[in-house]
Amino acid sequence: MEQFIYYLKVSLLSIKRAPLPYALTVFILSVGLGVFFANATFYYQLNSDPLPGKSDKLFFPMTLTPYDCNDCRPPRILSYSNVQKLAASDIPSAQAAMYSSDGYARLTIDQPPTPVVIRITQRDFFQMFDVPLLHGSVWPDDNGHHQVILSRPMALKLFGRTAVVGESLLLDDRNFRIIGVLDEWQMLPRLYDANGRNHLTANEDIFLPLETGYDLNYLSKTNSQTFDDTDYRQLATEGRVGALHQLQYWVQLDTAAQQEDYQQYMQSLAEDEKAAGRHPAPINNQLVPMLGIVDYFGDDPGDIKAFALVTLLFLVVCLFNASHLALNRYLSNQYEFSLRRALGASRSQLQLQMLADVLLMTVFSLLGALFIGYAGVSLMNALLPQNSLFSTWDLTLITALILAAFTCSYLVTLYPSLRASFGSLNQQLKE
């Protein structure tokens, strides 16, 4: 240990000898790592599992194709009547249909309205996606109720406090009772909303029962399809019977046996529908696991992937540059390697010295990289506010970043110092 502190001191001395090239090396490495860190943050959050331990039990069933086609997928959104057919199965441990809509909320008619995003869904939703309740409870059943559940930020925004169960609010100027308030909750990525890039956005503000949403003519704000010319703005009267597709549907299947049974159920259902003439396309059922949903629909944000690749290449370029600078530094100190060898330092002792160099380089470039990475994340948040959800650093990420900094410092130091320490020994000492 004492010896290693000595190595660190020697490293510091050799930095002091030529501080400018060293600072430049650290700077280049910091920029490369910082830009990489900023991007890695997004990439990591984007690809993380939002419900570890549970995500493999949640599935998106795709079946019942109401149009004729060859080799095509069933629609990713379902009609109300098809949801009813699926919901008739008691194989899943939980199941919920859902969609989202827009509205305006206020407490009294003379207040200015606040725009809100509404998730219109069923009671199992909260249990399936581990949504934490701070106050109150969810709806007692899946019938229509003039009862809403608020997100914590929305409760704070409307009331200035969270304990508001039993209070009322006006949603699009209709009166609702608040029966629950959520705790702090942000599922990332928000995979239950498998629609375009919705999984990258913030959670909803208000939760409304599905039946009530239909009764009050709330149409989906993201994705809906019709296959006839009914006027579906009359959701309350037409929506439940016609071919308006706007519902996403999730089931929880805990065991492989359940999953197999459910596949079988979907198959029978599709065959029945086919027999009834409501399924013109060939049967092509899919039970898509939650973690595969983004890939399955091809909603993968390709630009973020491309950007990740670019920052990785940039890091490699920075590594080459930093390594080149470090090589110059070591070559100008090479006589010192030869001298140390002549005085009896073994290669492994020189490598310990190198490790001290690496550690110092890691510390400096990590500090620089965290700074630049933080600035980069802030900049991206300013430019793309919807990405700000993905800018949090957790322990795993920080650990990975430290490892990345160490690896890069090691690579930058390794080649130059090996070249210097394995070079011709005596050459430098002769003259």
Partner: protein
């Protein structure tokens, strides 16, 4: 203690091969003070570096204390270099931003000696070269002769049995050169074997033995037992 048999060294570059040493056979006994002379480029430094295990050789053998150094690992060679051999160079090779004390400490660090032991040896070496008062100076604050004495202190602090000096007085004026020579003689009298490259005929004469190298070949002016009669 040193036995070279038919030792050859060839430097190969893309363009040329240089036969730096050809069939060198040499025996150096414990306690000798030998001067190595010869024209520039004749292979003196190469010979010294091979003796110091800093350089490999192409054929022949090198026995140190009766044991061949061929096939020794890097760690073993480093240890041997650290414990048995001290180096002195023409250009001193002190580390500029290390104090005198820290410079002398280097080989002791690599040997893994405890702090107290290091201190005692450094002070003893400083005492011997007469620079005890300057222990905290930087090399640049000393004259050339003083710097070379620091280098000598560094070489002997590990109490080596062989001292290899490559033109140690080449960069010094005659007064300082004489001081360094006297110091080396003193060290030799304490039992340390010294091989010294020099261009100075006076110095060569003062050494007990004069070995001449011309074009990589040895012309030893001193008598030594032919190797053929020695046990292998």
């Amino acid at each position: 203690m040193i036995t070279l048999t038919n030792l050859s060294k060839i430097f190969r570059t893309e363009l040329i091969e240089t036969h730096a040493l050809r069939d060198v056979t040499l025996q150096v006994n414990e306690g000798e003070f030998a001067a190595l002379t010869g024209p520039s480029g004749s292979g003196k430094s190469t010979l010294l570096n091979i003796l110091g295990t800093l350089e490999s050789f192409d054929s022949g053998d090198y026995l140190l204390d009766g044991k061949s150094i061929k096939g020794l690992s890097d760690a073993a060679l480093s240890q041997l270099r650290n414990e048995k051999i001290g180096f002195i160079f023409q250009s001193f090779n002190l580390i500029k931003d290390f104090s005198i004390y820290d410079n002398i400490e280097l080989p002791l660090r690599y040997r893994g000696l405890k702090a107290a032991e290091r201190k005692q040896r450094i002070e003893q070496a400083l005492e011997l070269v007469g620079l005890h008062a300057r222990r905290d100076y930087l090399p640049a604050q000393l004259s050339g002769g003083q710097q070379q004495r620091v280098a000598i202190a560094r070489a002997i602090a590990g109490r080596p049995r062989i001292l290899l000096a490559d033109e140690p007085t080449g960069n010094l004026d005659s007064l300082m050169a004489r001081q360094v020579m006297e110091l080396l003689e003193q060290i030799n009298q304490q039992g340390c074997t010294i091989l010294m490259v020099t261009h100075d005929p006076d110095q060569a004469r003062r050494a007990g033995r004069n070995i001449q190298i011309i074009d990589g070949q040895l012309h030893d002016s001193t008598m030594y037992e032919p190797l053929a009669t020695q046990s292998a």
